[in-house]
Symmetry: D2
Subunit: 336 residues, 4 copies
Amino acid sequence: MSKIALQQNRSLDVIVLGRAGVDLYARESNKDMADISGFNKFVGGSAANIAVAVSKLGGKSGFVGCVADDAFGDYVKGYMLAQGINLDGLMTDASGSRTSVAFTEMKPTDCTVLIYRNNASDLTIKPEQVSQAYIASAKILVVTGTALSTSPSREASLLAMEFARRNNTVVVLDIDYRPYSWRTDVDASIYYGIAAALSDIVIGNREEFDMMETVLAPSNKDDDMTAKLFLHGNTQILVIKAGELGSKVYCQASEKFQQGIYHVDAQKPFGSGDAFAGALIWTLVNDGELEEGIKHGSAAAAINVSGNSCTEAMPTKKQLFDFIKANKQDLAVRRK
Amino acid sequence: MSKIALQQNRSLDVIVLGRAGVDLYARESNKDMADISGFNKFVGGSAANIAVAVSKLGGKSGFVGCVADDAFGDYVKGYMLAQGINLDGLMTDASGSRTSVAFTEMKPTDCTVLIYRNNASDLTIKPEQVSQAYIASAKILVVTGTALSTSPSREASLLAMEFARRNNTVVVLDIDYRPYSWRTDVDASIYYGIAAALSDIVIGNREEFDMMETVLAPSNKDDDMTAKLFLHGNTQILVIKAGELGSKVYCQASEKFQQGIYHVDAQKPFGSGDAFAGALIWTLVNDGELEEGIKHGSAAAAINVSGNSCTEAMPTKKQLFDFIKANKQDLAVRRK
Amino acid sequence: MSKIALQQNRSLDVIVLGRAGVDLYARESNKDMADISGFNKFVGGSAANIAVAVSKLGGKSGFVGCVADDAFGDYVKGYMLAQGINLDGLMTDASGSRTSVAFTEMKPTDCTVLIYRNNASDLTIKPEQVSQAYIASAKILVVTGTALSTSPSREASLLAMEFARRNNTVVVLDIDYRPYSWRTDVDASIYYGIAAALSDIVIGNREEFDMMETVLAPSNKDDDMTAKLFLHGNTQILVIKAGELGSKVYCQASEKFQQGIYHVDAQKPFGSGDAFAGALIWTLVNDGELEEGIKHGSAAAAINVSGNSCTEAMPTKKQLFDFIKANKQDLAVRRK
Amino acid sequence: MSKIALQQNRSLDVIVLGRAGVDLYARESNKDMADISGFNKFVGGSAANIAVAVSKLGGKSGFVGCVADDAFGDYVKGYMLAQGINLDGLMTDASGSRTSVAFTEMKPTDCTVLIYRNNASDLTIKPEQVSQAYIASAKILVVTGTALSTSPSREASLLAMEFARRNNTVVVLDIDYRPYSWRTDVDASIYYGIAAALSDIVIGNREEFDMMETVLAPSNKDDDMTAKLFLHGNTQILVIKAGELGSKVYCQASEKFQQGIYHVDAQKPFGSGDAFAGALIWTLVNDGELEEGIKHGSAAAAINVSGNSCTEAMPTKKQLFDFIKANKQDLAVRRK
């Protein structure tokens, strides 16, 4: 019943649009930035993480984005290719932009993340560089919302979504809100509102939906009210993530349900959202039910935060099912 | 049958969003810019022209826009107030922007228009400055498309349209496309596409709809195909202006029709579109039929181009009806 | 004794570097901007004014600057050519900049001047566009200081001055300070300081020298102290203009002197400085004494403010000498 | 004879103006960027390197610059303070700029260095933030030329040099030319020309002096000609570094001389220039002869490139003299 209708004869399961960059994780855990001796190097970025997640589970991922024409850009492309990701939509920019880099301490909480995104390459992708045929070759397009934060990436994202709608590619918006990327919350709420209206599925946490309601319902904190605001037109499903409390899922066509999380010892506070989205989407493209997808997402998130990087700690299909079996406590699922 | 349902108990008939500036018309007709001795000064700008047009016909206009905090800004505000236009939504910018100025030769054709719009005040209006209550106080919101060309005016326009939709204020998009204001036609087509989807009525000429089809139907020149592309969802009416050939009007709810123009001796090649939009909108807010509105629009356009400025040559209700009576030749109306 | 040594076999008397634009003067005198009916059109801009002043007196002027590639640019070039000014160094910019325009009321005092200089063409001139051979073809290079306010015009000006120094072209700096063009007074004082050190003659008023002392002597108002600060190295002469009180002239090589002004009924408060500089420079290139040049400058200034525009009211040689004869009261000259 | 006269009663030996940032060195040597597993973290940046060099030799260094208000900024400040460097002139920027970061492979040649300097904090320092009293508290001001590349750091540097001149602080310009920081070579040559004219000592290599001659002597490759061009006015000493061939030193007051280099196994191709400048300056502030300073500089450079980072591998006084003793082969010194 809670299945998403997908076009079947597509060469790619999913195309992810957004940021691919370099993550530099503190070599020593539980040390402050000033005191660590150096960093371990990985590929990261929300969109890259999701593409890798789908790919490691066995899905066929593609990518729309941009990296710099330099050694870090080459590194990111080489890694993603090695993961089996199709890079026909990944551009290279030689105008002086730089591949996004994130430096992080390794602490489960209060973890400093230092982001180098001044003139970031991913935000230089132009609408002229987005191919309608490419978008039409996938069952699902995932847009990570940071791509909406500045031009021309904003226009590239909106055009990709328009292409998806006209070609029956299902659109998923992963809100992925980074306040520092936007002029104001008001601007963010305007473009996220437009993007949500073009999406079949919208995934975010309470704080992200608060931002989306900046203008329309500034004091609302109630998830049901949020569902009323955004669940119409094209938008069939809303997933509101609540950390420890699990996820609430609202469907236009049916009842809402809520699902808990798997409890693990976290090594780092990031990566879980991308693992969640990746496993959910992988489930959907494999004709799985929404409830199943949310469960897979929760498991993948738990596995990821126990690992030492975002991309490397994405589970394979076997790791995912082993983990679920080993953590038998049934995740609470409540229906309204 | 071809009427637009409007909210009746609103304090304003129409709010126009966009450009109010200064028009400087060559003192001598049929002379080149280098040879004219000076300029006559008027208030102009598409949005100001439409607001004045409605006001002179007896309607109650409001305005959303921005002028510079200087002598030209004061002049524009003083003139609009004197025309009875409500200026609660007209902002003043003191950050160094300048009120838009257009210098024009006075020639019926091949008429040089020199535009001073670097850091134009009208494009500095921010979404934070747009009041939902104000938009909700009008029957109709008219957005002139140049306001979409750059941030933050782009976001202010999109938010105003969202406010209008949520408050049952009918939205009219006057495309008003100026290529020099945009990064590329692709960008323009993306934002005009989003704006059209938020509008009840879209007005433009063939070249403007060509721009809107840059990505979706790049080689199309067929009006019926254009109607198919844009006439769905919120968009009920499409008016495609064709100069000498009159206007084609497409309705979602009913058949299309075509109406000719009044032939007059033009003094200048501009102002007609704004006069047309103003008289059409004035007709609609007075419970007139669409066909009648198009006829009034054609008459107002003819009167305006015979005059010596845009705002000053907008007709009063008496002038409009006298002109129509005096030009009895019935405008051809063809129905499909 | 107070003569400037100039290279004699040069094809041009003077090259002026800076702003050439359009002046639009209110058609009616003593009316506010909002109430005037229109504007009379003239060529203006400090540098253009000085070049015209020299040319009308019979000197051979050249020009380094930039106008827009449009009808106003054509107008400015046509007028300057008609005045006999060599335009080999006048560039045309087609990147979207606009020729500077000034709108002015016509009042002797409290006269609103509205300046359109956002992305002004004159400030787009690049150092690559300045020819050493051209600078070397003139006896004097006059730099009007607004050209120093932003890049790349700043670099073009500094390079022109360096070329002048290396080719024994005498450098005159007319401070021409417009605060709105600069980030801060501190920035202005830094670049004016560098430019003054490259100049043989520096001309300004008390307020302009105050700006130059922002960092070095922030509270100084004493002209003698100012002379001490700037009159060394290359800088031989400092002219400090004091409006009604005339001008103080400081020479490195000899004593200072002071000269009064001619009293006339002013029609407008601008143009006098450029007329002064033009007549002074014309005197120097004709082997005149400095004292004589200052007197000619004072007369030209008086003639100019009595007229109705800046360029058109520059006197011919005959007008200048007739005026001096008719105003026999000897201008007070005091020597220290 | 070849000594520089310095003000003696100053609280600081030297203030260095420019870049302090983070250097991330590949963990593995002789591997490509894509293949290395991570980076070791150090403080770096030309100006920081020179300040550390002087400090490790026992001199008292100060600093003028800017870092970001974040964990990397804190790290840089903490390290420099621990080295005994006075940081009264080191600003913190919270506007979104980022502390400069350089990622490097570890290879003696063909070593990729990836620089993150989009909106770099060091270039945000404003002239208003430079204290005349601070500049006046040092014997020597060293300006590293990258600080001249963009505003407002350019103006801060020029003002610091002006302050130094007015307070008898000797000015050293280390050209430190990075083409990517500049609009064009022409612009660079203009500002380096101005800066050189404000300096007592100018240090650079042949390629850097080529850039300085872009406009004045575009095809010159001859060091003697270069000395003729720049060795006048304030500029007493020119040091032209020639890698393997050692350095040529030109003095306004006396003859030129040339000195060879120490041959060592280099671990990395950077850091040597800063070590050279640091040891030379330390020698001068300790009343050493110029020839001795160049010899110390050559030794420090050799020691530095043998180490594994720039700052950490700066020698102490003991290490410097031990190295010189151990490498007895007298460096060839030729006099003209």
